[in-house]
Each structure stands twice: as C-alpha cells, then as structure tokens.
Amino acid sequence: MRENLHRFLRAARGAGVRVSPAESIDAMRAVSRIGFADRGILRDTFLLTLAKSQDEKRALGECFDLFFSQPEPAQDTKQDESNSDDAEQADSSAGSDSSSETGGGDQAENLGPLAEMLLSQDRTAISAAIANASGAASLSNIRYFTQRGIFSGRILDAMGVQRLRDDLDNLTATKPALAERLQAALDGLRGTVRDTVSQALLLYGREESENLRNEILRNAPLARIEPRQVEQMRALIRQIARRLRERYSKPRKRQRRGHLDVCRTLRRNAAWGGVPFLTAWKRKHRDRPKIVALCDVSGSVARVSDFFLLLIHSLHEVVDDVRSFAFSSHLIEVSDILEEKSPEAAMAEIMSKVGFGSSDYGNSLADFEKGWMDTITPQTTVIVLGDARSNNLDPRADILRRIAERSKRLVWLNPEGRMTWGFGDSEMPRYATFCSVVRQCATARQLERAVSDIVATYQ
C-alpha cells in the first residue's frame, strides 16, 4: 500500500500540487491514523495535509478521483501465482480451445502465456498483467506526450509480445481462424495499453508538459499566437501577474527604516527618565506605483496591448492607481471597462470603440493632452505600448516631450524588433529621444521583464 501512496504523491506533483518531502511524511502519518476504510475521509485527509490553497485543493481532488478510478495493480505475489498457474491454465484453456476449434491440442500447447491469456479472454488477468508490466516499465516516470510510443512498446515487450508474434506467425500457417482471433485480441490489447499510457501521462506528466508548453508560449511572439492558444496565454499572464504580486506586494520594513527620530524616541522613553529603551525611527517615504498606460490597439499591436492591459490590471495589490487609455485613430479612456468586465468582453468592447482603425499617433497624443494631461504627476510612470507607425502623419513628438517632463518616467514598449525601428513610417527614433526607457516587448517573457522593472523602480 505504501507503494501506491508514493505513486499517488507523484501523481499529485504531476497535477501541480507542490508536495515537499515533509508534507508527504505528514500525509503518511495522517493516513496511518485514518486508515483506508473510508474513501471520503481519505480524500479529505489528503486535501488537508497536501493542498495549501483552494486551487491546489481542486487539482488534488481531481487527481485523487482519477487515480483511484483506475484498477489497482495486482500484488507481486499474485503474479507469481498466476505464473505458476500458467502451465495448468494453458492446458485447460488449450483443451477448451482445441475442442471448440478443430482439434490439434499439440500445437495450441506451444502458444506463449500472453496468447493464452488473450484467447481465454480473462479480463482481470489481462488488466493485472498490464499493471504489472507498467510497473516493470516504470510507467510513472512518463513526462512528455512524445514518450507515449516508447512506454507502450516497453509495456508490450514486458508482457511478452515478441512471443505472441511468433505464435501468430505459426498459427497463420496452420490455423488461420485462430490466428485471426488472436490478431483481433492483440489489437484490442494495444488499444488498452495505449489508454493506460495516456492516463498515466495525464496523472504523472501534467506538470512537465505544462512547463514545456509554457516555456514555448512564453517565448512566442504575442502578436502572432493562434486563437486556440489565447486562453492558455491568458492563464500564463495571470500566472505572471501572481508572481509579480507575490514579489512586490509584501511591505519591506527594513528598507524603509531611516534615521533615528530623536523627538519621538525621547517622548516614548519619558517614563524611564529619558533612558532610550525603545527607539523610534523615521521612515523613508515610498511612492505607491502610479501608472498611466497608453496602448495602441490597431492591427497587429492589438493582441499585445490586450495581454499587457490584462497584466497591468491584475496587479491590484502592487499597483493601486492605473489609468489605461486605448487608441488607434483617436484615444479613449478604458480603465472602467477593464475593471468591470471580463477580459474577453472588455477587449471586445474596446475594439468596437476604437480598434482596428489606421493608427494616428499625433491625433491620439493630442487627444490625451487635451483630456487627461492632469492625470500625470511627478510620481507617475507613463507607459506607451505601440509600434510607432503613424502612417506618415504628424507624430506630434512635442506632446510626448511634455508628457515626459511632467512624469517620473516614460517607458515605450515596442512589439517590433529594434532592427525595424525607423524604417518605413516608423517614428520610433524621434519618440525615443524623450523616453527614459525604450524596449522591445513582443513575447510574454519580455512583457514580464518590462512590467517587473517598472514596478521595481517604486520599491
């Protein structure tokens, strides 16, 4: 049973629940008190000891149900018995086979144990054999979907498929009808093994394949990801947001401690005749991040803006004041839309209002200066996200200069590569002179770095 618990813990890790050795020891101790009599209580016990958040509880619950839905592998002793029984079983089943077919028991006796098992259609024996072979092939080490073939092959080998093929060849020559039955049974077995491997991949390999997928996704250009990946990308962005929140939301006292506050120290220690038992310290003033984001939502930049806005607006704990604006040919404020609606609905509404026009940076900047210039204070970081391709219209870089003068920092994130800046209708070099930082921002990784740096300047 302990072997099964270990396998369950490994499956739990695969499901994304972080299980440390200490936690698994606790779980073992708890289980030893609880016993295996009541599955419901056992489930509760695992949820209490292993999962540390609600998401983990849900994942672990699913994992528990999946794990205990599969037939438990037979014990080794049973396997030995069945091995020793094989000869007798072979005899009897061969006898029945030969009687139902056309005699010739001498040839049937030459069949391997696997062939016998398949022909006798003993389901429990077959699933037990598969389970044992999976153990032998250490199926619980499966990590990636590309390994499915290898593990299926290993399991079939361990079950003695080689011998089966030989039998099949012999039978095709002598008894075609029996050979056909065996072939059909073999196909069935292949299917079962494939299902077993897929289930194991689901149980044990989820974390690795998710890491791999996220790694690929992180470095994929945001503007060109496929529609089916959008949902995964949103999940990834939320994950990034959580990480940034965890890193920056905890107040750090020590860094804020300044000089000794003499007045307060004296006052506080008046009771002890001014002997300074308790000290009072001045605190360094620290700004909370204030961000004004101007996002181009025209054409290819739209998707990057979408993810950027999602990221910025999921940082409530870290950034308490965000104003977002979207523009293509003109500019509107979109903070309220993003706060109130789900990401998909919000983006759809923004797009219907300003999206997909031909971009006019000059006009949009003029709109901003007219309506919202006073939102920029010396504590504000202004982030502009866009490719700076203004269709040869007046770029109005003078407005950007005024924005830069009013703000703490002006950061320009451009989804295009540096090589293309300044070519065609790109106004990037002209804008770049007024920016504190200019960086390329085409993938989720670059997005994370950019936002992380912006927030870090306030710490």
């Binding site: 972080r18 440390s20 200490a22 936690e23 606790d26 101790r29 708890a30 030893s32 008190r33 609880i34 016993g35 295996f36 009599a37 009541d38 419901g40 209580i41 509760d44 016990t45 949820l47 209490l48 000891t49 999962a51 540390k52 958040s53 609600q54 509880k57 929140r245 965890e246 939301s249 905890k250 107040p251 006292k253 009771a271 002890w272 038992f277 704990e317």
Partner: protein, 315 residues
C-alpha cells in the same frame, strides 16, 4: 488496518462540537481530529463570517480548555505577541542592587575578589521573573494545554509569520537571554485567515490547510436550527433557500453564515411565519452590507422568494 475507529472518532468530534452549538461538516471534523492526532496546527481560510473564529471557541468549550486569543494587525511584533521584559522592575532591581552592593560584596578586599564574588552572585537581571508573557508564551505555559487562536494572520506583516514558525512546528520559543521554552502540554493551535494576502509557503507547510466555504443548504439549516431554536421549520427552509439564491448573484460581499443567523433572529423577533416580499425588503439590510448590493438584489427578490417558498413546500 481497516478498522472503523477513526470514523467513530471523527463522529465523536462532530457530536462534541455540535453539543457546543457548532455544526461542523465532516471535513472540519476530520481536520480537528487530525490536528489532535498528529499535533499540527490548523490554518483555516474562508470568507468572513463562516465561523472560523467560532470553530476555535467551540473546540475550547468542548474540551474544557482555556482559549488564548492573539488578534493580528499590521505592526504586531514580538513584544506584543511573545514576551516583553518588565523594564521598570528591572530598573528598580538595579536600584536595589546598588544600595545592597556593600552587603553583596562585603568583605572583599581587592577588586579581583569583588569581581569573583560578583560572578558567583546569581544573574537575575534577565530571568524568568522579569519576563512579561504575551499570548504566545502564555499558551506554552498552560499546564493543562489550551486552544491558541491566532486570528486573522493575514493582517500581520510578513516578518511576523517567521516568528510563528518555531512555535508552530515544535511548540517552543527561544528567548535569547533565557534559552528555549517548550510547551508543558502542546496547545491546539488554530490560525485563521481571510486570504487578504498570500501567506508564506513555510507557514502553510507547517499547518493543516482547511478551507471553510459557504455551507450546503442542509448543513446551513442545521446551523440555524442549533443557533436560533425559536424559528419554525418552514421559515427556516425558506430563508436558507433564499440566501442560497442571493449567493448566486455577483455581489461585493455575499451574505455568510453569521448574516444568516442574524437574519433568522430578526425574523423571529418580527414574528414572521413565512417569507413575504414585504418583510424581505424591510430586512434586506441585515443580509447585505452595501448599498450597491441591495440595489442589485432588489429586482430579483420576487423570483427568489417564489423559488424559496416552493422549496419550503416541496421539501
């Protein structure tokens, strides 16, 4: 190993808590049983008002133990949670020592001899007598054990969590001047959190993690039954059904169990026998705490009441 002893013990926990007026789900009872068996603290998370603090009180009352409560807030530190030196008494002590110095060192002829005598003299300046125990230390010093409730741990600073680690895993604290103080009897520790910020992994690892959500309808009816005995069965079923409907709305603050109980009390006080539109509208402010929420719920009231009263009849 498949005996039914644990199941029986879990049921014993359930009935023990029920005797104190706390109706626990099986998961809660399992957590309480496990925390006792493997001596681990329970970290309870969940929305406000689902009975996290009540759980600790019920356990204390059930086991007949003292409950020591530490309410966390921003800026809570060692001196307020663990121990503090009695500065004033220490000062007095040095004053007395100064006066008696002649007696203590009496007869020493040379400076060296005086120093020797001083060393043999017991150092009581930093000693147990001058320690003012705060809740955490008090909990360790209870000879009969106790229930230690560390309430709203998420309100405290991240540094305070680290302070708790030693007491949570080993039931001991280290005072630099005195050494390690171990618990006489390991206390039952309950931590509660509203998930206002994410707690550190180190803290979570040392605890059983229990999430209490809104209870199921049957359970909530039993809770109301135990807390507000005067309410009729039909009304109870109707009002709990109504609250479950309200919880499906997208509100700022969903009504939780404490609001249900308050509302049941109000309904009993107003001598309502049935859930009517009039009475719901008049008492909605007991359930919903935001003006915007009440406005959002208003248009749905009629349908919810109809649904709830149908449930009362059929159930």
């Amino acid at each position: 190993m498949a005996d039914n002893r644990p199941t029986a013990s879990i049921e014993a926990v359930e009935s023990g808590l029920a005797a104190q007026g706390y109706i626990a789900s099986r998961q809660i009872a399992t957590a309480v049983y496990l925390s006792q068996e493997i001596e681990k603290p329970i970290l309870v998370e969940g929305p406000a008002g689902v009975g996290k603090t009540e759980l600790a009180k019920a356990i204390a009352a059930w086991r007949g133990m003292k409950m020591i409560r530490l309410q966390c807030y921003e800026g809570l530190d060692e001196a307020k949670a663990l121990y503090e030196w009695k500065y004033a008494k220490q000062l007095l002590y040095t004053q007395i020592l100064k006066d008696k110095l002649g007696e203590v060192l009496g007869g020493a002829q040379t400076l060296h001899a005086a120093l020797d005598q001083l060393h043999t003299f017991g150092d009581v300046f930093f000693s147990k007598e001058f320690v003012e125990p705060r809740p955490l230390l008090q909990a360790l010093e209870q000879p009969a054990g106790c229930v230690l409730l560390i309430d709203e741990i998420d309100k405290s600073d991240a540094e305070f969590e680290s302070l708790l680690l030693e007491i949570l895993s080993d039931f001991q604290v280290t005072i630099p001047e005195l050494g390690t103080v171990s618990a006489i009897a390991p206390p039952t520790v309950i931590l509660t959190s509203n998930s206002e910020r994410d707690l550190g992994d180190a803290l979570k690892r040392r605890c059983l993690h229990l999430h209490i959500g809104f209870p199921e309808q049957k359970l909530e009816e039993r809770i109301v039954e135990s807390r507000v005995p005067g309410i009729s069965q039909t009304l109870r079923r109707q009002m709990v059904g109504f609250i479950h409907e309200i919880r499906t709305l997208d509100l700022k603050k969903l009504p939780s169990v404490s609001e249900t109980i308050d509302w049941a009390r109000v309904l009993v006080l107003l001598q309502a026998t049935e859930l009517g539109h009039e009475i719901v509208r008049d008492t909605l402010n007991v359930l919903l705490k935001y003006e915007a929420d009440i406005e959002a719920a208003q248009p749905q009231l009629t349908t919810f009441i109809a649904k709830a009263s149908r449930q009362g009849v059929s159930g």
